[in-house]
């Protein structure tokens, strides 16, 4: 079952064309790793899927709901505000620099959206939060504030915050790039666990080993194009593309 279908996505910032005709699918339960050099458009792609940016043209369908398609002139035609919000509810996003709410405790970071967006009761949302914190190994931190936590702990809270709204697809935008190697391991372990539970995920990452070992599919992007889209084995071991080989040789 297709959880996400993207067709012919194009996006420019002024004269700078960042996404040039991007198409790909994500199946249920799959982990898709997107790799590529800085400036290749990986993060922009993620931001277009999560509605933090708008595509100029192309089609995005998430869990069967159309977020955007082309009009007769080939320009992006977005769904209504209500439909866009409904599409957004299928997605969770984990940021590179966490973006926790610093004035809220760990508990409230995880419960606030459940209560104000989903309308869950305080008790129900705290129960969800405690389960997730336990899973993240942070049961003793529910009353702490983000500034009292290490980077790895903050990122785990932000994963819990995203999971609390039970998204169908969880997206990660370079989740370990702000962390040292030791803390990176913490986060990758969590993502690995989620993968074993068949959570559908899209992970933009520079961790090649992780992409190789955990992902079901790997996309290699360069200069706004998808150069490779295949299994880790196909991309890492069997690619004949010069650009792919040159990029992977650096790792």
């Amino acid at each position: 079952m297709k959880m996400l279908e993207a067709k012919n996505l194009k996006k420019s910032f002024g004269d700078n064309e960042v996404l040039k005709n991007i198409s790909f699918d994500v199946n249920k339960g799959d982990v898709l790793a997107i790799i590529g050099p800085s400036g290749s458009g990986k993060s922009t792609l993620l931001r277009c899927i999560t509605q933090l940016e708008k595509v100029d043209s192309g089609e995005i369908v998430i869990c069967g709901e159309t977020l955007v398609k082309n009009d007769y002139d080939g320009n992006a035609l977005y769904a209504s505000k209500k439909e866009k919000a409904s599409v957004a509810r299928h997605l969770g996003l984990v940021f590179q620099n966490f973006n926790l709410f610093p004035h809220f405790s760990v508990m409230r970071n995880i419960t606030e959206a459940q209560r104000k967006v989903l309308g869950r009761s305080k008790e129900a949302s705290e129960e969800v939060a405690r389960k997730l914190l336990k899973k993240m190994g942070l049961s003793d931190k529910e009353n702490a504030y983000p500034c009292e936590l290490s980077g790895g702990q903050q990122q785990r809270v932000s994963i819990a915050r995203a999971l609390a709204l039970s998204p169908d697809i969880l997206l990660f935008d370079e989740p370990t790039s702000a962390l040292d190697p030791e803390l990176t391991g913490e986060i990758l372990k969590v993502i690995r666990e989620l993968a074993s539970e068949k959570m559908t995920m899209i992970v933009v990452t520079h961790e090649m080993l992780f992409a190789k070992n955990v992902a079901d599919r790997v996309i290699f992007m360069d200069k706004g194009y998808i150069i490779e889209n295949g299994t880790p084995d196909e991309v890492f071991n069997k690619s004949t593309n010069e650009r792919t080989k040159a990029f992977l040789a650096k790792y």
Binding site: L52, P102, A113
Partner: protein
């Protein structure tokens, strides 16, 4: 003439100073937020460059900051008579003083709010959007509380200035404390009322500083 009798006579003036002080804050703090919204508004007419709301706020802030508060108080008080021929009674004094102070301070607060709001990292808005918060929820639950913490020192500055600025209400003979001190000093040919007034302003501001410091400490549970 003893200090005690001066203080007793100044007492009524003190109450009026305090009344003016709190009324100004109660109106100017929210009004300033509205003005800062207008100042940052992207609503445009005819062309993308013509933003009437923003322009209006810019002119308002420019005039309020660019002309003396004393003059503004006089305009608000005497304006209705000279412009529209409305007869003004002395009971209008307090309202004129509060209106003039509130619209003047709102302009300063607006710029402080704007600085605070614009200093917020984009990631906070993005995280809120991804989680599905509405724009109003995002602003009031996530952005504004953090902005308040950031701008508190600047607000404290303005509040302390306000305490002293209340003495400017003497131009419309609003009987706040400084006006009273001047009257008593003239009648008794004594400097003592001014000394007492000075002490009063100092103590008032000391209390303001202590209170603001407490609030700042209360907000320092996070970074």
């Amino acid at each position: 003439m003893t200090l005690q009798s001066i203080v007793t006579q100044l007492g009524g003036g003190m109450l009026k100073t305090v009344l003016l002080f709190f009324s100004t804050l109660i109106i100017a703090l929210p009004l300033g937020l509205l003005v800062s919204f207008a100042r940052m508004s992207n609503a445009h007419l005819f062309s993308k460059k013509f933003k009437p709301l923003r322009l209006l706020a810019q002119v308002y802030i420019s005039v309020m900051r660019g002309t003396p508060l004393m003059l503004q108080i006089m305009v608000v008080y005497f304006g209705p008579y000279y412009l529209f021929g409305i007869k003004i009674s002395s009971s209008y004094q307090i309202y004129a003083a509060i209106i003039a102070f509130a619209i003047n301070y709102a302009a300063y607060f607006a710029e402080i709010y704007r600085g605070g709001i614009e200093s917020m990292p984009k990631g906070q808005y993005e995280a809120a959007k991804i989680l599905g918060f509405t724009k109003a929820q995002t602003f009031f639950r996530i952005i504004l509380p953090q902005v308040m913490k950031r701008i508190l020192p600047s607000i404290t500055n303005e509040v302390i200035t306000l305490v002293k600025d209340t003495s400017l209400a003497f131009v419309i003979a609003y009987a706040e404390m400084f006006t009273m001190a001047k009257r008593i000093a003239a009648k008794e040919t004594s400097m003592l009322p001014f000394v007492a007034a000075g002490i009063f302003y100092y103590v008032f501001n000391l209390i303001v500083a202590i209170v603001m410091n407490r609030i700042e400490k209360k907000m320092s549970y996070y970074k």
